[in-house]
Amino acid sequence: MTTAIAASPELIVDAGRIVEPSVAAESPLAIRGLTVSYGRKPAVFSVDADMPATSMTAIIGPNGAGKSTLLKGALGIIPTVSGEVSVFGRPFAKTRRRVAYVPQRASVDWDFPARVIDVVIMGLYAEIGLLRFAGWGHRKKALACLERVGMADFADRQIGQLSGGQQQRVFLARALAQDADLYLLDEPFAGVDAATEKAIVDVLKTLKHDKKTVVCVHHDLSTVAAYFDRVLFLNVRKIAEGPTDTVFTEANLQATYGGRLAATHIEDLQLGVG
């Protein structure tokens, strides 16, 4: 499996398309031929993707395009039909500690008996181990992560009292606590207020600055160019992938969204030169 992915860093011609040359053997996330299916209709079909180090990639596509499914399949949260995934050149099972995943906040029951700090400490469980108790050092670390998302004052709140944007920031703080090298976020901007969106983007840009790799399932086309330096167009199959400058084009948007994209919107999207 690694041999297939550890290809030379030169230009690779793949089925007539030119794949980015920056994909090295140690690519933070390399996906080959991933197919995920609910029932007999593939939700994601034979998708290849490569996330170069220190990049910020938006996975975009219409509803039901399999954006979240692609992430979940790659991380083994849901079973896959076929395909291979390597994280930093090795199987994900061996590199878990380098990966942080932020699920959609609606995927959990926020009435769970936990305080904000308890949720962030969940990101430290791998570090704490099974038998030890979480100590003062862990609490301090979790508080520092809450500070980075502007939620330190809420540490002892019950999580059920948080607004949607605050919940999202707590989830991000938990991912920060994992101190990973690859961050995968499922719709981090869904249903959050402008202040939260800005707080999250700032944190993500800091991560990139710190040489981390970020991948977001994203739905707001108007912010793609401002937030991300790479895009992956997905509609069950991969439509295109590459730097925002060159790939975020009207042609690719049309190919991905088809008639569902109003032409009037396209003008506002800071499209690449394509």
Binding site: I77, Y125, G160
Partner: protein
């Protein structure tokens, strides 16, 4: 000796060796049930544990038949418990398999397994009744539990299994918490959700099996569910939820067993469950954190606060007030005379309310996202939330605004 005296004796372990043994055994059982049940409750698997408990019956009956055929008495408790554990595990695996591998939903799988296994058990019990062995009497007590004739060895079985359950809860508390709160995240950190789920249900299985003798298989699920549900009213943390649930379970078991032994003929299981229910009821009503009375009181106070602030603002702006609750609130606070005219205190409070509103509007403009502002209800006196410096700063900003306009 009255029933009350007998109850006091039983509660103080003075009612004889067997009663004391049962009370202690039931307390240990409740302890294990509450602690293990915390995760069953958090993972929302109460119904699965009900299927498990009903699936013990054919195991008990089969074990009896096998032991009787082999020439034993058929009533050797460890053998019966082993049999019940085996069929309960089979039932659990069938539910698991049906929910994962077929298009049936889990509740349908639970319903099927629960009724089929229980039905099989009842049939086997009638078969046993036709057998020549004269010792079959008493298997029926596994349905509702009994405190009659408990042996010290049986108490040991409960104590050891309870200790194993407690150890499992301690060891698995982090993966179980993760899986209960956020299974997707748990998967990515390497926690096997399926195995953790099975471990939670194995906990339920252990409690069910050791609870067969005292509480009986029909009601044992209550000992897994009621204590954690009641404990949830008192705490917002998993660790304390486990401890409180275990404590409530222990109290239910102890008191229930004592009552049952004090009044002959009262089945143990139902009494223990009723005691647990009383604890639940008290929690539901009286807990200051999530209880119904506390919530109603908070709601009532909040309404008064809203009406008072609305009334004061209306006074300050010289608007007429029609709402009866608003009027009575103002009168009772001494802000308004009976004829509807504002008192001196009322006028100054009204002016203060108007000023606080302006201060808050200004504070919101400043940092609408800050934790203090985001939390403010607009009703608490502003001095309780902001420092004097902050208020002075707001007033300066307001004064500047007034000059500008």
């Amino acid at each position: 000796m009255t029933g009350f005296d007998r109850l006091i004796d039983a509660l103080t372990l003075q009612a004889g060796y067997n009663s004391a043994l049962v009370a202690i055994g039931a307390a240990l059982l409740g302890l294990a049930g509450g602690g293990a049940g915390a995760f069953v409750f958090l993972r929302k698997r109460a119904l699965v544990s009900d299927a498990i408990s009903h699936a013990t019956l054919p195991g008990v009956a089969l074990a009896f038949i096998v032991m009787a055929v082999l020439g034993g008495t058929g009533r050797w408790l460890p053998g019966l418990l082993a049999g019940s554990a085996i069929t309960a595990a089979i039932g659990l695996l069938i539910v698991e398999w049906m929910a994962r591998r077929t298009r049936l939903s889990e509740d349908a799988a639970i319903g099927a397994v629960l009724s089929v296994f229980f039905g099989l058990g009842v049939v086997l019990l009638t078969v046993i009744q036709t057998m020549t062995s004269g010792q079959q009497a008493g298997l029926g007590s596994f349905l509702l539990g009994s405190t009659a004739g408990m042996l010290i060895s049986e108490a040991y079985v409960i104590a050891i299994a309870g200790a194993i359950a407690a150890g499992l809860v301690f060891l698995m508390r982090r993966p179980m918490t993760l899986v209960a709160f956020d299974p997707e995240f748990a998967t990515t950190t390497g926690v096997d959700v399926r195995r953790t789920d099975i471990a939670i249900l194995v906990l339920a299985l252990i409690v069910t099996v050791i609870g067969l003798k005292i509480v009986g298989l029909i009601l044992i699920v209550a000992l897994l569910i009621i204590p954690p549900v009641a404990a949830r009213f008192w705490t917002d943390r998993v660790a304390s939820l486990i401890l409180i649930a275990a404590g409530m379970g222990a109290v239910s078991g102890y008191v229930g067993a004592a009552i049952s032994s004090a009044f002959a003929g009262v089945p143990t299981g139902p009494v223990i469950v009723l005691i647990a229910f009383v604890l639940f009821l008290v929690s539901l009503l009286a807990s200051p954190l999530r209880g119904a009375l506390a919530a109603a009181l908070r709601q009532w106070r909040f309404r008064r606060l809203v009406h008072q602030r609305q009334g004061l603002l209306a006074l300050a702006r010289g608007e007429a007030i029609y709402d009866r609750l608003t009027l009575s609130t103002l009168r009772r606070a001494g802000y308004m005379r009976r004829d509807g005219v504002a008192t001196l205190a009322g006028r100054s409070a009204a002016a203060k309310a108007l000023k606080d509103e302006a201060r808050w509007a200004e504070a919101m403009r400043g940092e609408a996202d800050g934790p203090v502002v985001a939390d403010y209800d607009g009703l608490t006196p502003i001095e309780d939330v902001l420092t004097p410096d902050q208020i002075a700063d707001l007033d300066r900003r307001l004064a500047r605004l007034e000059v500008a306009t």
